[in-house]
């Protein structure tokens, strides 16, 4: 069976997988990082979004083998070692941008990518459009949009 070597949240892992093993399965079942979720089987919901080499990717639509040699960041890897939350996590909390929390990891990872790719700032419309690949059934998005708008300047200030 093939082996994949990758760095997840700064730690290197070498894992035996099947050809068909998905990145999300590798993360959840082999490495035990269950913060990344699976909400659909048609690549629509974004609950599984992680960063692969610094940009967002749907880990349910990627083979584990495709991540060979990659640097992967998951929701578990965002906070500082002392537990200080990433500004996006902090603003999600501040603005009540999560309810059941199931969409949240993917939502936060997508939101960080969105802010990173818009150094000039984001309008409300751009935020809403930028969340096209992430579904939330609980919040109605209102507070998620608010949280991202609040996090953007904090992230750029850093």
């Amino acid at each position: 069976m093939p082996q994949v070597t990758l760095t997840v949240n700064g730690k290197q892992h070498t894992v035996t997988v099947e050809g068909r093993t998905l990145l999300v399965e590798l993360l959840r079942e082999k490495i035990g990082l269950t913060g990344t979720h699976v909400g659909c089987d048609t690549s629509q919901c974004g609950a599984c979004v992680v960063h692969v080499n610094g940009v967002s990717a749907k880990s349910c639509t990627m083979l584990a083998m495709q991540a060979d040699g990659a640097n992967v960041t998951t929701i578990e890897g965002l906070a500082a070692a002392d537990g200080t939350l990433h500004p996006m996590q902090e603003m999600f909390r501040e603005h009540h941008a999560l309810q059941c929390g199931f969409c949240t990891p993917g939502m936060v990872m997508s939101a960080i990518d969105l802010v990173n790719s818009h150094p000039q700032g984001l309008t409300e419309k751009e935020i809403r459009e930028g969340l096209e690949g992430n579904l939330c059934r609980c919040t109605g998005y209102h507070n998620i949009v608010k949280a991202i708008a609040a996090a953007a300047p904090l992230m750029h200030a850093k």
């Binding site: 068909r20 349910c60 639509t61 495709q66 060979d68 096209e132």
Partner: protein, 263 residues
């Protein structure tokens, strides 16, 4: 998913060799279409040939053309300054495919090889009269698309790059499926010195097609008003829970008008 062998050849030649050596092996580009297909168990390849190390990505822009490597992602095309300057409509089209995470991985080669009847890129390729370059030959856009999910590609033939002539003006407008966000109707209009080309995706049962009526009208007068009164035959239109044939035929007119206005 059924299990398969995973291979990642380091060159185009090696990829072609693997694919020709095993009829059940299948190329994998961004996987944004093919992995969902595998997950639904609609395909059972013996091997997956990951093209990501085969050296197929990159963008070259000259005075008259834009050439995009097959493995170039939608996000790269969308953000590339040279593409944005030369054919802004193409960059905008790429920036409107799926969502950002999909654009980070999905590629032009995969999109064109797949030829989903609701995909965006085929309309740009056809309207711009692009040339599909494979490991074997060059294929003109007009010969390439052969009905939904069907192309001129032979077994084991790989797209290497796509060369787009630079038009005077162009624009892509998409009316999205509210659920999947693919095109219910997508229209790419392009104005060249010798006339206009209009390609429609999403609407037809036969996949992407050139709209002769619109091309005629817009060649005479490249303005939104010129599209008024140009009708689209409902006979070949797709029909599903999201749009009737009549609605699609009507939208072709609306979307074309809006594309021209944007160009």
């Amino acid at each position: 998913m059924y299990d398969f062998n995973y291979e990642k050849p380091a060159s185009l030649a090696a990829a072609v060799a693997t694919l020709t050596g095993d009829a059940d092996a299948k190329a994998l580009a961004g996987g944004m279409t093919y992995i969902p297909v595998l997950k639904m168990r609609l395909a059972k390849p013996s091997a997956i040939v990951d093209l990501s190390a085969a050296g197929l990505s990159g963008i070259t822009v000259t005075a008259s053309s834009v050439t995009i490597g097959a493995m170039t992602t939608h996000d790269t095309v969308a953000k590339n300054a040279q593409v944005r300057a030369a054919i802004p409509a193409l960059a905008a089209l790429a920036g409107g495919i799926g969502d950002e995470a999909v654009r980070h991985r999905g590629t032009i080669g995969g999109s064109l090889a797949n030829n989903d009847p609701a995909a965006c890129y085929p309309s740009a390729v056809l309207a711009l009269g692009a040339t599909i370059k494979t490991n074997k030959r060059s294929i003109a856009a007009d010969d390439y698309f052969q009905g939904m999910f069907t192309t001129a590609l032979e077994d084991g033939e790989l797209i290497v790059s796509v060369e787009f002539p630079i038009p005077q003006k162009a624009a892509y407008e998409k009316f999205r499926n509210p659920a999947s966000r693919y095109a219910i109707v997508g229209v790419f209009v392009a104005k060249f010195a010798n006339g206009a080309r209009v390609a429609v995706t999403g609407a037809s049962q036969g996949g992407v097609f050139r709209h002769e009526g619109m091309e005629k009208a817009l060649s005479a007068n490249f303005s939104p008003d010129a599209t008024a009164g140009v009708t689209t035959d409902t006979d070949n239109m797709n029909q599903d829970i999201h749009a009737s044939a009549e609605y699609r035929a009507h939208l072709v007119g609306v979307v074309t008008k809006r594309a021209v206005a944007k160009a």
